[in-house]
Symmetry: C2
Subunit: 339 residues, 2 copies
Amino acid sequence: MAQALARGVLRLTQPVYAAAFAAVAGKKEGEGPMGQCFDRVEPDSHFGQESWEQAESRMQQETIYRAMEKAGAQPEQIDLILAGDLINQCTSSTYSLRPFAIPFLGLFGACSTMAEGIVTGSLLLEAGAGNRAVAATSSHFSTAERQFRYPLSYGGQRPPTAQWTCTASGAVVLDKETTDAPRIQGVCIGKITDLGVCDANNMGAAMAPAAADTLTRWFRGTGTPPEAYDAIVTGDLGEIGGKLLLDLMMKQGYEIHSRYHDCGVLMFDGDRQDTHAGGSGCGCGGSLLCGHFLPKMQSGGIRRMLFLATGALMSPMLVQQGESIPGIAHLVEFVCGEE
Amino acid sequence: MAQALARGVLRLTQPVYAAAFAAVAGKKEGEGPMGQCFDRVEPDSHFGQESWEQAESRMQQETIYRAMEKAGAQPEQIDLILAGDLINQCTSSTYSLRPFAIPFLGLFGACSTMAEGIVTGSLLLEAGAGNRAVAATSSHFSTAERQFRYPLSYGGQRPPTAQWTCTASGAVVLDKETTDAPRIQGVCIGKITDLGVCDANNMGAAMAPAAADTLTRWFRGTGTPPEAYDAIVTGDLGEIGGKLLLDLMMKQGYEIHSRYHDCGVLMFDGDRQDTHAGGSGCGCGGSLLCGHFLPKMQSGGIRRMLFLATGALMSPMLVQQGESIPGIAHLVEFVCGEE
């Protein structure tokens, strides 16, 4: 059973473990500063498939296989899978999962999906829905660009606030059985937050208020200060959104700067790789959580971590209709070792 | 805690109640055989908004308000909301929910969303995530047609297998507190099932195998025969998918014909309303569950019911790329009165 400390701020009384995790990424991500952390870097952006959509599905599928393999689990030993992505009707996930025949709950949280999947999956295991669940997500530069912005061949100029959708995928096997793996000790379910940002090329600004809301609710609800954590990690706020988050948190009385990391900032060397405000996409936070941060917890480099993935819950059509972009952020508290 | 009887087949040990429910529908639905069951029928297909997308959001928002009002709950008394819809990036839900400031988990299950929300919401309440949750969904003929098939003004000919996306919305307030309302006693989480149907104008055929899989797993896992239920209700298989389900269930040794209803078949008078194989869309099953079946349970007309909502997890792009259409079906067992 989880204990509700405040609305959506939940402490797990029976911890759930991130028993295994895997990350697969594309060529550009592999050439970035984090390139060494992925289980595999695929040089072919089509992943051997005929379309980009099929490529993203294949990448996510491979990531899930790798995570299950590390957990020593066959698909029939997984009780539940939770997945989602950015592509219309979440087909990167639903087509990826066809061969597995695992009970499936489809999620849509835009780039917050990695955290949404871990939050929901952990709570469902707490509820008795099974012993092992997989949370997975992915994004692909070429599927996302043509869907959300311009056809790639149009060669549109990207403004400095724009982020670069990562070709990457992450998958975590959640397990109730005690191991020495990082454990999920608490979660915070995000609220939709919309401060009126209308610029689909400035996602960081649209998402930062949601991240600040979730993080503040977590600190207040649990009574834990930022200093309790070795790392506070966001998914893909990028350079601009990340700075906004630090400011917004200062206004709430929380200094998180010294322990703050954003996967979008970490993913690329912006000057060399021409990625402007940083990486983005469900796979950005998902792949660095699974490829970098969880392994770092396991090797003792981080003991307590907050992972927040933020999502811009917009569609191109609604933005074209003049609507602003609602954001959301879900949070997972990971702890490794003795309390 | 839930008890897992088989993978994804779960018995709730602390029942969750469908404490309140509401349904709002459009003009054509209001003129159909079920027209009297909705809380409100809106004659303006724009719901007073400027775009169809905004109209769908407004309809879903109103439905949620009505359900909360019937439950005597303010938004701040709801611990969690789960919602999703058919429109790209689920914006009908995310834009609808902006004013509520309730912790939110976005779902994508296509037309299975009403059941997916109740399944997930009930289990999360079991997990201790709060006392009250809302599950909601919607669909709109005009948003869906132009996104999934043709621009409305193109006036394309509809084949006899085509279904008519309902302009309708349903919302349920789930509550752990004991009332005389219908209670959720068990759930079955669907698996992705793809038998190779590629025709986006024959959704019923794409979804029927998923419904048969879920229903068979439920009967086997719980050891309950079809005769234990007064009603076995699917969301929107329509005329063709419904018949396929009856056949597929017979092959598994289950005769469900005498207690079977499909919301897609019930929604319209096909001959008079020119709706071909029946209604479809998240709002079809959602609105008839909330407007017809749950009220009928409350008035004593149905004591035990299985509600299965089926989803076709496809996107137009993947169908254009020649992919087949994966289906899914989630199941909820409702019981009213003493066991």
